[in-house]
Symmetry: D2
Subunit: 89 residues, 4 copies
């Protein structure tokens, strides 16, 4: 898919940041970290995964569903993206 | 918007079903209903609101973002709808 | 449940505010309101329902799961509430 | 925290399974995988992260908020867990 290909570097950078968060989470579980801090780390991972999903979904909708072309269809996409952003925070 | 206009009866029926659930929730809060049952009713309302959001969003995406026309863009919409359904359950 | 009983007025006020949002949503669907505005109203309803769920759940956890009494168990509840708040926004 | 310590092996196993899913996701982004399949993989990661959050949260609530001890408080926890499960699917 062209939009994934075009954004490949950014997407891979996000994946690797999540991998770093997961490594830190694993150390927290292996160590003696208190549960509240583990839950916070997990909430951060969830937020990062949601952000990545939103980026891939938005790219796909813009490039292949509204697009290619058509500024009218791109405009119609905006309220949907606004709602999706509020869900995937 | 035509897709809301076309589905107006179904959408209004869903809104009214939610209104009925809200009326029953209000009685439960006013009465002596135990908290677990109130939480279950709230979870049902949330599910019904999510279902309504999904229907409006899907109608909009099909009619005005992928559409009008273009079976290719409609096909590209399918994986997005599958993911949205898993989120808005 | 005492926490629902104690907060009954506030909870019923929230339920009625949601009923008002639902009435406005129904008018929007019956009228010629554009889909983006309908989606925004639906997102507002969802947020209000989530807020009500959070309030009932927090009240229940504080009064009947961590409580009655025990400031230690109340403290242990805090990181869970923080995560729940981030989910039910 | 004792409940994390006691379940450490299982929790670490879940973290590593997610790491495996992330590695496969990274290959999918680097490769030529179509967007729909990438979105499905992302949805699976999200589900696995939600499952892990639920397990840590439930363990914490049972051990340190309802517990230690008190079957009454454990019972009061059940409707909250039921609702949380429906949100974190």
């Amino acid at each position: 898919m062209s939009h994934i290909h075009e954004n490949r570097k950014k997407l891979v950078a996000r994946v690797r940041r999540i991998n770093g968060q997961m490594a830190s989470l694993e150390r927290a579980i292996e160590g003696d970290t208190e549960c509240g801090a583990v839950l916070q780390q997990l909430a951060a991972v969830r937020g990062a995964v949601n952000g990545l999903i939103l980026q891939v979904m938005e790219g796909h909708l813009r490039a292949h569903v509204a697009g290619p072309g058509s500024s009218k269809r791109q405009d119609e996409l905006l309220p949907v993206l606004a709602v999706l952003k509020s869900y995937l925070k």
